[in-house]
Amino acid sequence: MSSIAATEMDNTIDTPGRRTPLVLGKQTYASVTQAIARISEESQPMIWWVTFVIALAGLMMFGALIVHLVLTGVGVWGNMSPVFWGWPIVNFVFWVGIGHAGTLISAILYLFRQNWRTSINRAAEAMTIFAVICAGTFPGIHVGRVWMAYWLAPYPSLNLWMWPQFRSPLLWDVFAVGTYASVSLIFWYMGMIPDLATFRDRSQTKWRRLVYGILSLGWSGSSRHWMRYEKAYSILAALATPLVLSVHTVVSFDFAVSQLPGWHTTIFPPYFVAGAIFSGFGMVLTLLIPMRVIYNLKHIITPRHLDNMCKIILATGSMVGLAYITEFFMAWYSKNPYEYDTFVFRAFGPYWWAYWIMFTCNVISPQVFWFKVFRRNTVLMWIVTIFVNIGMWFERFVITVTSLARDFLPSSWGYFSPTWVDIGMLVGSFGLFTTLFCLFCRYLPVVAISEVKGVMSQHAHAEHLHASGSHHD
């Protein structure tokens, strides 16, 4: 009863009249629990250790560079007139964009009843939190005097006797990213409570039981609790859906509300949101493709999941490409010489290489997903997702740096060059991200166990009805 009669390992083909299984092989509830819980119960494979040590080194470098920055000043970056928003802001927007996939998968796909989300939402949400942590670091250290960063908060200051300026997009950004980070965190945690209870109940050692016992808050699986939990999950999904769309919209306001040619465009909010989902799914695939191999989760994160994500990448990548072309069209059609020059400068000026890296990686490379062979071959897929990550970083670089490099006064035109600290901090932020993700794999349930079981139950029920219906015919 509790097993799924699906023996074939390819669930990317839709059979008319039948629900395509989302979990492959002869799976029981116990086998799903075992497959996921053992990841944190058994010792980690060698590749985990290698990754973790490298990532930890990157994290320590990141910390050291931040100390260097705080002790020396923001002059250690390449930010120089006229490009005052250099790599730190590029990295911020890059990481915030990546942080969009998790909550999108948990919230929007939940509201659309996309059951395939259950296998990937936990890892995607974790990735979201970690990406937002990386993102939040950069504006935090970008304020120059880090110890004054709390001035961003609206509190009745004893030293300033004044309040933040609520008509500024930069302050909206503080609220948007802060709300997104905290709501994503609590959403992630709430979703994890039943699985933490599973970990608690499987614990063999006293310490594990104590820690997971505290984290799971005494979850018993009572149906009344489940009922309220599901209601809370729906409400959170309904709240998080507009939130996801608002965050990158507000981030785009940082640019769009200014008067700078290349920034001051109304297309920015939808264009940023599409780019964020694009880059977020790119990063989810980058992480999940190795993870499902390393932890032997191929039957839970199935080819159909990867196939669906590839299609989303194709769709959002094409949207981003449309946005690029629309920007150019508007620059020409508006007959605004400043706008037009800025875009010609982007594509054919000294930053032409960045523009065409962006265009190739973001628009052209995902087009291979029109072909099923690319949506089936995980190696090719992974390479494309790496291109997507690179392309989306360069998109933010192109938007931020090229618009600033050409000021209104030709006398202040300049060319941005990063310093070694800039490069080290970008690498170091990946170290922070990867360290957190490794720890997540090590200690927390990487797949939403209870949700996968719920979907299995529904599918078994549907199969049951299907079988009985055909029998009666």
Partner: protein
């Protein structure tokens, strides 16, 4: 609890909480739940590893009030955000940004939205936990080791012993009849309920430790200390610089403040002793400077109030009447003779004269301090300047002589008056002066007319330039008025160069002449009647 308990059969130390039935399939659980409910039990529950579809109706679980909590929290968030933004940006600390109104709702939308979501989301999670009674770390069902599989792959049905129809035997029979894998009684948890004292001690110690920094800060804030403020971050409060009056080792003289480099000309001191710049002859003033006490000078400075007091004059220099060796250069000039057009280098001044350069000695002080000092100055001051008003530079009253006072005003233009100069003066006059004094100089400029219209009591009307006393003023006096202002009139020294000021004076002279022309002024051969339509002629 005890009132619903059935009559005690055996004395068992742990109380009975209820019975569980274990299933390995959610459909069996659903079926069993329906049967138990049909049997009339209401205090029943199910423990499942995932939310089982249809269990709510099978168990008769009512809908939750949770959405109301979210709604109210969301509305609270909206209200808080709007009040916060309106209070901070429009009431407590109002300032205009980008020309937006103080309460600019469109700009407040993003933060309002974010706080709405923030409040609603947190309330949803905490209300869910609260309604569920979580966190609850001690639960009797956890005493059964089999119950560990309730979060894995087993489904438990639960009948509470507090149910009004509860009967242990009947319940067990009913549950066993549903095909349960096992039917078991859940008893009170007999594990020790006492929290170890060490945990209390540890928590108390932790709280105390976390209070220490705050206590130190509070103590520092409320106590006095002879030492400077303790800075966590120095910012720019301490820098390797010296303040005024502090010693230094960098310079040989040990002084931080550096004297001006030799040859420095301070602001406002460039060529002030030139009559071209001053409008009067400083040498003549110096020659007539009365010997007077410092106190009276001080009083007069205070009366003036708008000029900085000059450097104190050396006592010795003040005692002896200054005697210029040579007569001042530019004056006197014959009335018809055009003066030199170029300003010359400032002549050397006696020490006492230097003091009076900035602000000439006033008539009052002259009269009380040095009334009898009648000096036959070289200044060719004409006697028709019978202006008894204030602050006439170098006005050396003849006092008891009863005659007209002598002035050091320049009587003639120190530059050549040409048609171009007068045209320039007209331009400058119409730009700078006419707004108050009127295009023709009658004190009926737009500002004056507007002020008269508003009938403001404190408005002092601009002087008509055709008043007799103005007409009689020497050009130097007019120039001085333009330079330093008078009454409500602002000084124009910063706005106009000396040449421009002289040009205006020249134009004023033209205006005065044109408005006060006599028939003798008409050159012979000109037909007055033909030009009679010129109404300006009075």
């Amino acid at each position: 609890m005890s009132e619903h308990q059935p009559k005690p059969q055996k004395v068992r130390p742990p109380r009975s909480f209820g019975w569980t039935a274990e299933y390995d399939d959610e459909h069996q659980l659903l079926e069993a739940a329906r049967r138990v409910r049909e049997a009339g039990y209401t205090k029943i529950d199910a423990f499942t590893p995932f939310p089982v579809h249809g269990i709510d109706t099978a168990l008769g679980i009512r809908r939750t009030k949770l959405p109301w909590f979210s709604l109210i929290a969301g509305m609270t968030g909206t209200t808080v955000a709007l009040l916060l933004q309106i209070w901070t940006n429009a009431i407590d600390y109002p300032y205009i940004i980008s020309g937006k109104p103080y309460i600019s709702l469109p700009a407040f939308i993003p933060v309002t939205f974010e706080l709405t979501v923030l409040f609603a989301a947190f309330m949803t999670v905490f209300a869910m936990l609260g309604l569920n009674g979580l966190p609850k770390f001690s639960n009797p069902v956890f005493t059964n080791p089999k119950f560990d599989r309730a979060s894995d792959d087993r489904f438990f049905l639960w009948v509470d012993s507090r149910d009004q129809y509860f009967n242990a035997d009947k319940v067990r029979e009913l549950l066993e009849a549903t095909g349960a894998l096992a039917v078991e009684e859940v008893r009170e948890d007999d594990s020790p309920t006492q929290v170890p004292k060490a945990i209390y001690a540890a928590i108390a110690a932790l709280i105390l430790i976390t209070l220490i920094p705050g206590a130190i800060v509070l103590n520092m804030r409320n106590s006095k200390s002879p030492y400077p403020r303790w800075h966590v971050f120095f910012d720019m409060d301490f820098q390797p610089i010296r303040k005024a009056q502090q010693p230094t080792t960098i310079f040989a003289d040990g002084r931080v403040q550096r004297p001006p480099v030799p040859g420095t000309v301070a602001r406002g001191e460039l060529g002030p002793s030139d009559p071209f710049v001053l409008g009067y002859d400083p040498d003549a003033v110096a020659a007539n400077l009365p010997a007077q006490g410092p106190s009276s000078r001080l009083v007069s400075y205070q009366q003036d109030g708008d000029e900085q007091p000059p450097a104190p004059v050396e006592p010795g220099a003040r005692e002896q009447p200054p005697a210029p060796e040579e007569p001042p250069a530019p004056t006197p000039a014959a009335p018809d003779q055009p003066a030199s057009s170029e300003p010359e280098a400032p002549p050397q001044q006696p020490a006492a004269a230097t003091a009076s350069q900035e602000r000439p000695v006033s008539a009052e002080e002259s009269s009380d301090g040095a009334a009898e000092q009648t000096s036959a100055t070289a200044v060719a001051a004409t006697d028709d300047d019978a202006v008894g008003d204030e602050e006439a530079p170098g006005a050396v009253a003849t006092g008891d002589a009863g005659g007209e006072p002598n002035y050091a005003w320049l009587q003639t233009f120190p530059l050549e008056v040409t048609a171009e100069l007068i045209q320039q003066g007209r331009r400058e006059f119409e730009q700078n002066c006419a707004v108050c004094h009127g295009l023709a100089g009658y004190g009926d400029g737009l500002v004056a007319r507007r002020a008269a219209e508003l009938a403001q009591g404190y408005w002092l009307p601009p002087t008509s330039l055709h008043e007799q006393r103005i007409v009689e003023q020497p050009v130097g006096r007019l120039y001085y008025t333009i330079t330093h202002g008078k009454g409500k009139m602002a000084p124009y020294a910063d706005a106009l160069t000396p040449t421009e000021r002289w040009a205006i004076v020249a134009y004023i002279r033209v205006l005065q002449r044109s408005q006060n022309a006599r028939s003798e002024d008409v050159p012979p051969g000109v037909d007055v009647a033909a030009s009679a339509n010129s109404d300006n002629v009075r």
